[in-house]
Structure formats: C-alpha cells, structure tokens
C-alpha cells in the first residue's frame, strides 16, 4: 500500500505551477467571461502546454501525446482545475473528443482533428442535451434524415457549453427512431460554421458561455462526418464518458480557495474573529476534501480493472457535494464582501465565481442522482 503519486507526477506538479505562475495572472477566473482577453490567455497557455508536450499528456505518443501515466494525468487535472482551468474549453477536445476519435474515428478524421487538438488550436463542444432529453439521452429528438447525399439534421440542443467559442461539435442525432433505444443515435462531427446552425447564448447565474441553445435547421452531414458507426452513438458516448469517469478534480480548487481565503482573512486581521463553529466547519471541509481526493485516487487506481463500477460514482458524489459545502463556507467566512464580483472582491472574485459554478456541480456531467443509482446498484443489485 503506497499513496505516493511518484517522482514524475510530483515533478510535473511543480512544473505546471511554474508555468501557471509565469503565464496566468493571479485574478484569472477562467476563459468563460465577457472579456475576450481571457479566452486569448487560455489559447496562449494551451500553446505553451502543447509545446512542452503537456496539453495531451494522456494521449499515446503516436497521436502527439505525452504518454503520461494515469497519475501524471491526475496531477494535470488537479492543477488545471485548481487554477481555474487555464486550458479554457480545451479539455473537452483533449479529455474525450480526442480519445473518442482515436478509438472510433476514421483515418481521415484522426489525421484532420488530432493534430489540431494536440496543438491546442481548436475548441470543441458537445451537442447532446436537448429540451426533452437531459440525463435520458436515448430519448433525444434531434433527427438526422437520410437522403441521397447523406443526412439532414434538424432539431434543438440546449445547455451546450462553449458553443459560441467552438469551431467543432460532436453532435448526437437520432438516425433511426424505430430502432432499440441503444441503436437509435449516431454521433456526427460538425463544424460550427456549417449552414443551418444557430447558437443563442442563455443568460445564467453560471456566467457567459456555460449555457447555450443550438438550433439545427437542415444541417447537411455526410458519411465522412459520422463518428463511429451509424446507430452506434450510444456506445461511442458511453466509451467517451468512461474517459471522464471520476469527473472534474473539484476538490483541488476547493483546497486552493480555502487556503487563499484563509491567507486573505489573516492578512486583513479577520481570521481570529471567525466563530469557532465556522472554524470547525472549515476543518471538516478540509477533511472531506481529503476524502474526496482519496476516493478519486481509488477510482483511478481501479480504472483498468473494471472491478467496482461504483468507485467513480462514489468519488463524484463526495467531490460534488464538497464543492457546494465549500461554496457556502467561503461565502459565510468572507462576509458581505463575498457577494461582490470582480478583481476587487475577496480573492479576486473567486468566491462569487465558485459559489455560482458550484450550484451546477451535482447537475452537470451526470447528476448526483445518477451517481447514487450506480452506487445503489453496486450495493443492492439492480432494481426491477
């Protein structure tokens, strides 16, 4: 039994923090702001990571990756999320579109897209959720109708993150409504500037770019745009989601924010005035974050063994609930000023930013109810 991540992973953590300190300003809160400079900053940072072979560390070297160990990949996930994801929306392409292309794409698709992803030159979005199909993706209604030239896709996607930034989309559409539920869907790779695609941003508490509607009006796609096989969309999606089993390393940002706020409160002479009950919550939050990290490590350590399908779900449940617990704690500890946004707010506005985004932690990328279903199935067996 050994919990060391290894020398290479530790050295990588140091190097990533050096790069972040050099290129990312202290008040950076991510690319998803109204300020286009934030997007430009992340694009430049992705180039830096790509130049050092760190952007696609998890990829095989033959596709421009670094062939990194799972623990090096874990360090990348932790450091990027802790520092407000300075890769911007790149992680979508890096973490699952790229691996899905490697596994299910054609030679032409791999040749076209993988070099661009590994160079940090392209942003992807995923067109899955619809007004009538969230967690239940098999029931989505966007139709791809076959004709002599391929398919015409019409329908509506919703909650599509980064749709205004993205150059490409992995789009799920129903190609055979009469087929079994797991054979109805097909995934298509579609450029976002293709005729018939319209993106409308949705104003939300999460901030710009997180939520969009995407309207599809007779969007032309061909055989060359299919990712995987026709009717195999559900399988490709399941494979893709497997790359993201443990989800975002939210515990890393929580630990960072608690540390930063503690320093700020001490510097302002406010820490000692915090109520003992609040400090007790602070301690418990740090312990719960440690537990979240350990459950993530447990799931990662098992990821090639397929022993316990509930391990990743357990990690996600604890991590996402911790995210929300810490959001409340930060807001309470920082007092009224925590409601302010922008660089003059406590810790450069990171508390407001974290609280707003944490509200979605138990909803996005697989709701906490789905995770509970997975754990319950492991403990109690399937329900009828």
């Amino acid at each position: 039994m050994d919990y060391e991540l290894g020398d290479a992973a530790q050295a990588l953590r140091v190097r990533l923090r050096e790069l972040i300190a050099q290129e990312i300003p202290p008040g950076f809160l991510g690319a998803f702001s109204a300020n286009p400079d934030d997007l430009a900053l992340t694009q430049a940072f992705c180039k830096t990571l790509a130049d050092e072979g760190l952007l696609c560390l998890a990829w095989p070297t033959e596709y421009g990756g670094g062939g990194g160990s799972v623990w090096e990949q874990t360090v990348v996930r932790e450091e990027m999320w802790a520092h407000h994801e300075p890769r911007g929306a790149q992680y979508m392409g890096v973490n699952w579109v790229g691996p899905a292309l490697m596994r299910h794409g054609t030679d032409e698709q791999r040749a076209k897209h993988l070099p661009a992803i590994s160079a940090g030159e392209v942003i992807w979005c995923q067109g899955f959720s619809e007004p009538e199909a969230g967690t239940d993706l098999a029931s989505l209604r966007t139709r791809a109708v076959l004709d002599d030239d391929g398919w015409l896709i019409s329908g509506q996607k919703v909650w599509t993150s980064y749709a205004l930034m993205a150059q490409w989309c992995v789009l799920a559409a129903c190609t055979d409504p009469a087929a079994k539920s797991n054979e109805r869907l097909t995934l298509f790779i579609v450029p976002m500037d293709r005729e018939g695609i319209e993106v409308r941003p949705i104003a939300s508490m999460l901030g710009p770019h997180h939520l969009n509607e995407v309207f599809l009006d007779s969007v032309r796609v061909t055989e060359a745009d299919v990712l995987g096989k026709v009717g195999a969309g559900w399988k490709v999606m399941r494979d893709a989601l497997a790359y993201e089993r443990v989800g975002i390393a939210r515990y890393a940002r929580c630990e960072s924010l608690l540390s930063r706020l503690q320093d700020a409160l001490v510097a302002d002479g406010l820490w000692d005035a915090l109520a003992p009950a609040l400090k007790s919550r602070w301690v418990r939050a740090l312990i719960s974050l440690r537990v979240a990290r350990l459950l993530a490590y447990k799931a990662i350590a098992q990821q090639n063994e397929g022993i316990d399908p509930a391990a990743a779900a357990a990690a996600r449940i604890v991590t996402t609930t911790c995210d929300q617990t810490v959001a409340e704690l930060l807001l309470e500890a920082a007092g009224a000023a925590s409601l302010d946004a922008g660089p003059d707010a406590p810790i450069h506005g990171a508390i407001d930013d974290h609280w707003r985004y944490a509200q979605a932690a138990t909803v996005s990328s697989g709701t906490i109810e789905v995770q509970r279903i997975l754990v319950a199935r492991s403990v109690l067996g399937s329900s009828r």
Binding site: E4, V291, L294, L295, S383
Partner: protein
Amino acid sequence: MNTDLPPDVVAFADSARHSLTRLGGVDLALRTEVDRDLREPVSRALASIGAFELDVRGDLDELLAGAQLCRIAGAVALAWPVVDELLSVDGARLALINPAAPRVDHGDLGGEWVGADLDGEAHSLEFGEPRSRAKLGPFLMPASLGPARPPVAADDVARHLVLGSWRVLGSLEAALDQVVEHVGARKQFGQALAEFQAVRFAIADASVAVRGLEELAKFTTWRLVTASAAHHSADACALRLHAVDTAVAVLRTCHQMLGAIGFCDEHDVSVLDRHLQPLLRLPVSAESLALRLVPTVEAHEFETLFS
C-alpha cells in the same frame, strides 16, 4: 500508488475474522453484558490468532494488521479493549481519557491501566464500581486518576486514535451489511424495500460515506509510517473526527432503514450502536477534535494539495 491492503494483511484479517466470528460474533457481545466472564474466551481467541504479538508501533504491515484486527473487533462488537491492549505501555493497557471525567471501556478487566489525554499527559488509573444498567457503552467503567506517569509518546496517542477509528469503521460496515440484507428481504407494498428509490439513495449515501472512511483510514495509517511525525497527531485527529461524523450519519440511516427491529437487542445494529458509543464520545467530543485541529489548519500544516 497502490490503495490496496497488502496480501499478507488481508490473509491475517481473513483468519482473524473467521476466529472472532466463530466465537459468537455480536451475539457474544450481547451475552457478555450480563456475564462478563465471557470475555475470557475472547482473550484466548485473540491470543490464538497472535493478536497480542502484533507490534503496532512497528512497520506499516504490522500497523495495518493491527488495524484490521480492530476493524474486525468493531464488526463483532468484540468485548475486549483491543486498541488499549495493542498499545500497552510496559504491560499496562493504554486508554485515552478525558482527565476531567475518566471512563474506560472494560476497565474492570483488572491488570494495570494507563490513562493518557490527547496531549500524552498520563496517569495510572483506578476503577470503582461498574455503572448499573447502562445501555450505552455497557462495559464503560468510571475511573479516577492515580499517580502521574511519564508522558505517553505523541505517536502512541495518534496510533490509538487511528486504531479506534478502524474499530468504528468495522462496526459501520457490519451495520450497513445488516441493513442491506434487511432491505433486500423485507417486503412492503408488494415489493422489497430495496426497490424503493428513497431507500436505495439512502443506502447509496451511507455506502459512500463508509467507503470514504475506509479510504481515509488507510491513507492515515500509511501517513503514520511515512509522513513526518509532526503531522501524525493532526492526521489521526482528522480521521477520528471523520469516523465519528460518519458513524452518526450512517447509524442514523441504519436505524431508519431497519425500523423498529433495529432498536431490538436481538438485532446486531442495536448492539453495535450501543457498544460503539464510548468510542464516538471519548476521550473528547467530535467538536473538541475539530477545534483541536484549527491551529494545524492555521499553520497550513494540515496536508492538502496546497499546504
């Protein structure tokens, strides 16, 4: 990174579980409430599996083996102060106490006892009459402080807290196993309780909590051997605090899922819960443990990715 227990430790644990379960399990603990002489076969069984030869102050494998023994002791509510025995000082069992109101599980066993507070300040312990008819912690004995003794090593205090936390974990795992069996078998409204989503979600949450405690227990045990000694006390307090918080939540779920049967002494969960209470309240409350950790957090010495 390898989060699995070593094979030798797993083999020892399997053997110990077999022996201590065969002895009578939770039912034996219940019977011992009225016949304390039943602790004698427990002592013999522990000796037969080599429990008293374990050096929990030694290397990681020895400590982990001791931890698994404590986990199994928790699972069967073993009527023996295993942690105190494993950490004996010069032949005297070591109990962690609150000097203002010292109480020790199985203090009536005889032999020498040392009571130490969380700072290691130690005294010999003397015991009076047993409490009468106490349901919570039926083996808990009031004690008084005898002569002062040399301070107990900080690492012994830390290991005591950690091994006690493993015992808590064992009790929670056993209680949850009972509940899982119950909701699978018990039918209401024409279907097993395990078919109701409210039940499934409650058990999922309890299961996740127990998994989390297990991982924290393993990690903390590993840190006791590998991390700087300066961190041991905080790590151990953190584990015990989390064990107590987890126990309160999980046992609440267990009782809710079991309904009235879970309050009956014929059911293991009633016994497990009652016998576990001293470990959840002593030597200090969970809140005291939390506040004890505050200075560590203030010094940025509590291990995180940013400490």
